[in-house]
């Protein structure tokens, strides 16, 4: 039963490391954002889930109340990560496109054409 926390922890650390590799190996800002944000969000959720599982196991074994406090607070932190991380990534991508950074191998920019056609915000 102790293996469950270890498996979750290994998956999370592996994905965090893959996010670091993605930050270095991808060619432009959009692919870096894609790889890094997804991998670090997934990995952080899994390491936090490992902490929750281990704290609940310790509560079942010892019966001390501080372990339930720890697991509830970690679940709150997971929800904070789930709300804030994709929203921040979307804001970064929007700002990157509006500041004129294009993907490395791009040949057309349909989003800028669409904005120009509607005559709305300058892309």
């Amino acid at each position: 039963m102790e293996k469950a926390a270890l498996i979750l922890l290994t998956i999370g650390v592996l994905f965090n490391f893959l996010g670091t590799v993605a930050l270095y190996r991808f060619p432009d800002v959009y692919t870096r954002l894609h790889g890094t944000t997804k991998c670090t969000t997934f990995g952080s959720i899994f390491t936090s889930a490992a902490v929750v599982v281990y704290a609940l196991q310790m509560y079942l074994r010892t019966g001390e109340g501080r372990f339930t406090t720890l697991s509830v607070h970690v679940i709150l932190a997971i929800f904070a990560l789930l709300i804030s991380n994709p929203t921040g990534a979307h804001a970064i991508a929007r700002a990157a496109h509006r500041s004129g950074v294009l993907p490395k191998y791009a040949v057309v920019d349909r989003l800028a054409e669409d904005h120009r056609k509607k005559g709305g915000v300058s892309a």
């Binding site: 102790e2 926390a5 270890l6 922890l9 999370g12 650390v13 965090n16 490391f17 996010g19 670091t20 930050l23 270095y24 800002v29 870096r32 954002l33 890094t36 944000t37 670090t40 969000t41 990995g43 952080s44 390491t47 936090s48 490992a50 902490v51 281990y54 704290a55 501080r66 406090t69 720890l70 607070h73 970690v74 709150l76 932190a77 904070a80 990560l81 804030s84 991380n85 929203t87 921040g88 990534a89 804001a91 970064i92 929007r94 700002a95 990157a96 509006r98 500041s99 950074v101």
Partner: protein, 86 residues
């Protein structure tokens, strides 16, 4: 005994957060640096949550929640500045 695995996981996560500083310094454009900063913040939050179990202190998780909120506001503000609003 199983706590030592969590300590190793904290070490690897801290190494990843330190390794991301390279992209923060050498990013060709400004959004690259913002991506690196956002990822470093996420890794520091994960590190705090793991270390709260290793050092057996709940207060570190509360600090991590506040850090997540502040880093979210900071990322939104920097993105707004990059796109030319502020």
């Amino acid at each position: 005994m199983i706590i030592s695995y969590f300590a190793w996981a904290a070490a690897v996560t801290g190494f990843c957060a330190l390794a991301m500083v390279g992209r923060l310094i050498a990013g060709p454009t400004v959004p690259d640096r913002v991506v690196a900063l956002d990822s470093i913040n996420t890794m520091v939050i994960a590190l705090m949550i793991i270390l709260s179990l290793v050092y057996d202190s709940v207060i570190m998780v509360d600090v991590a929640i506040v850090y997540a909120a502040l880093s979210f506001v900071g990322t939104l503000f920097i993105a707004r500045h990059v796109e030319g609003g502020v």
